[in-house]
């Protein structure tokens, strides 16, 4: 059924279709309407879940770990400062192998305080052991939630997932979204059956114990193995999703890259703008393409390299900054593969990125003056 909805609504619809049993959430701009939609679904009896009105994001994720530990499917959502407040427990959630799914409305981190979009918040959680999926639009937001449960709950994986949607650009923008039927989703994503440790008086287990140096490294190594295995699980899950729902996804999306001389690499909503620019430039005969990174963790290095290896140069666009070294995606790509790349920082704290900016990035990438320079796009001249 096609409905015109925002990505926040799409996330909420995806959650409803996934039938979580416990939903602890705390409001924060621009995530708030996700928690409101879910509250309404529960109030109307459309979602049979325990909705916990926690007093902070820290308690939201803590309650989610407790609920997941007790053997049920759980969902929470947050943004920016809230995600930063969760930071400590994000590690615990992954380390305890709780397959929680979270929606994150990407928003800049303070200071200065900003409610507007960039991706610093989730990028800053890259080492917590969570999988991260970046949506380009509301349809992907909905679909990625359903897929995230299936991937996270796979016994080869058992790591939590974050579905990231750009604040306001997606969270508050409406567009047509195909909402799958409950029957189809139930078949694709059956009720959660925990197969590993969970809290049950009939079979008592201790979860979240204390370890000495004899055991800690193995537990962390097991997470790395799971993260690597998740790549195949993601592919298989998307394949199965396509067979049922007809929409095709991968860890990356290749848009006009096969013969491209210049390839732009980016994540999230900006990919929509880039696709439009690629179409325009292609009409003018420029061989330009977009590589959209959907799965940021696990990092799809083979998939990225396969696409970019034949390009003359690539441009990596980061809505984040690791001070002193540049954009995180740029540096990870540079670290993992031999490519001629230029790095661009843009869109921080909601700074608009126009099609002209993308055209300029293509120009700068084709004729780099200094390849080591981190290029800031849309920065105001000093007055």
């Amino acid at each position: 059924m096609l409905k015109v909805i925002s990505a926040n609504r799409a996330i909420a619809e995806g959650v409803k279709l996934s039938r979580p049993q416990v939903v602890p959430v705390y409001p924060i701009t621009p995530q708030t309407s996700i928690s409101e939609y879910l509250a309404q679904f529960v109030a109307d009896g459309d979602l049979n879940a325990e909705y916990i009105r926690v007093e902070s994001e820290h308690s939201a994720i803590s309650a989610a770990v407790g609920a997941s530990g007790a053997g049920v499917r759980t969902f929470t959502a947050t943004s920016s400062q809230g995600l930063a407040l969760m930071h400590e427990i994000l590690f615990v959630a992954a380390g305890m192998r709780t397959p929680i799914v979270m929606g994150n409305a990407n928003r800049a981190l303070s200071a200065p305080l900003s409610i507007w979009n960039d991706q610093q918040d989730s990028i800053s959680q890259r080492d917590t052991g969570w999988m991260q999926f970046f949506a380009e639009n509301a349809q992907e937001a909905l679909d990625f939630v359903i897929n995230a449960y299936k991937i996270s709950e796979n016994k080869e994986v058992l790591l939590p997932s974050m579905v990231c949607i750009d604040g306001f650009i997606l969270t508050h923008t409406v567009e047509p979204v195909d909402i799958p039927s409950q029957d189809d989703v139930d078949k694709f994503l059956p009720a959660y059956q925990p197969t590993h440790a969970y809290l049950d008086p009939e079979e008592p287990m201790s979860l979240g114990t204390f370890t000495d140096p004899d055991y800690y490294m193995e537990a962390r190594y097991a997470m790395e193995v799971a993260m690597q295995k998740s790549k195949k699980v993601i592919k298989d899950t998307y394949q199965e999703f396509e067979e049922v729902f007809g929409r095709q996804y991968g860890m990356i999306e290749n848009y006009q890259c096969d013969d491209a001389e210049i390839i732009l690499v980016a994540m999230g909503s900006i990919c929509g703008t880039i696709k439009a620019v690629v179409d325009i430039l292609r009409k003018k005969g420029e061989k330009v393409g977009l590589l959209k990174v959907i799965a940021y963790r696990p990092f799809p290095q083979e998939e990225i390299y396969d696409v970019v290896k034949n390009a003359q140069r690539i441009a990596v666009l980061d809505k984040n900054i690791s001070f002193g070294i540049g954009g995180v995606l740029f540096n990870e790509i540079k670290a993992k593969m031999e490519v001629d790349a230029s790095g661009f920082i843009l869109g921080l704290g909601g700074r608009d990125v126009s099609p002209d900016d993308i055209v300029n990035i293509v120009k700068q990438t084709r004729n780099p003056t200094d390849t080591d320079k981190i290029n800031w796009i849309g920065l105001k001249e000093e007055e």
Partner: protein, 288 residues
Amino acid sequence: MDIPEEEFLAPGHRACAGCGATIGVRLALKMLGKNTVAVSATGCLEVVTTPYPETAWKIPWIHVAFENSAAVASGVERALRSQGKDDVNVVVFAGDGGTADIGLQSLSGAMERGHNLIYICYDNEAYMNTGVQRSGATPYGASTTTSPHGKESFGEDKPKKNIPMIMAAHGVPYVATASISYPEDFMKKVKKASEIEGPAYIHLHQPCATGWGYDPSKTIELGRLAVETGSWILYEIEDGEFKVTYRPMERKPVNIYLESQKRFKHLADEEKERIQSYVDQVCAELKI
């Protein structure tokens, strides 16, 4: 009182000799029984009972972090309810630091939301797991490693934060204080807490030989002295009604309690008198 023999906290854990916290857990679990899930905050109890791959817990148990045990318990309780397991007790064991300081926000949230859980604060009056640093529950005059006595200091210079009354102010159906040295009184309160629908809070006073500085064989005796001197008062607040549950026959001078512990040894008469007059004032109000 009929006390079940079955133990749900196994021996062989790594607690110090004379540990009061583990005594408290054993007593509480005797009342709660097998059909119970325990949640622990980071702290002594968590560390000594679960050195992987061993565990002392014979019931399901979960630990997530220091400041969030009440939030974790909220999630556990709702998850059990969503599975139709409403009959399972959910009990939190958190120390005084994890309750009065770093965990106060999540505790307040859980109490106010009305989860059906029992929160037991095992109060040894300082951060014992990290080596005796003061917490909000450290009493006036106690010397700790972060409130040491010295030329310019008589130790902790603030009175103990009154967490049970803060919990009572949340309007929860059951709040009680207890001591491991009065096991029947404590266990009756645990039983009552488990039978009440909604949140229950029990603040359990438990001497700590390592942190307080006394012979480990004297743990129970120290707990009794705290109560017999009026330094710790046993009461319960059921549906808003306050009741003292134990009144010493004859209240002993506070000095006996203070002088039996290294943490108070340095106190001058002036401070001891101040503590005695504070205790007298509280006891007068309660007619103890």
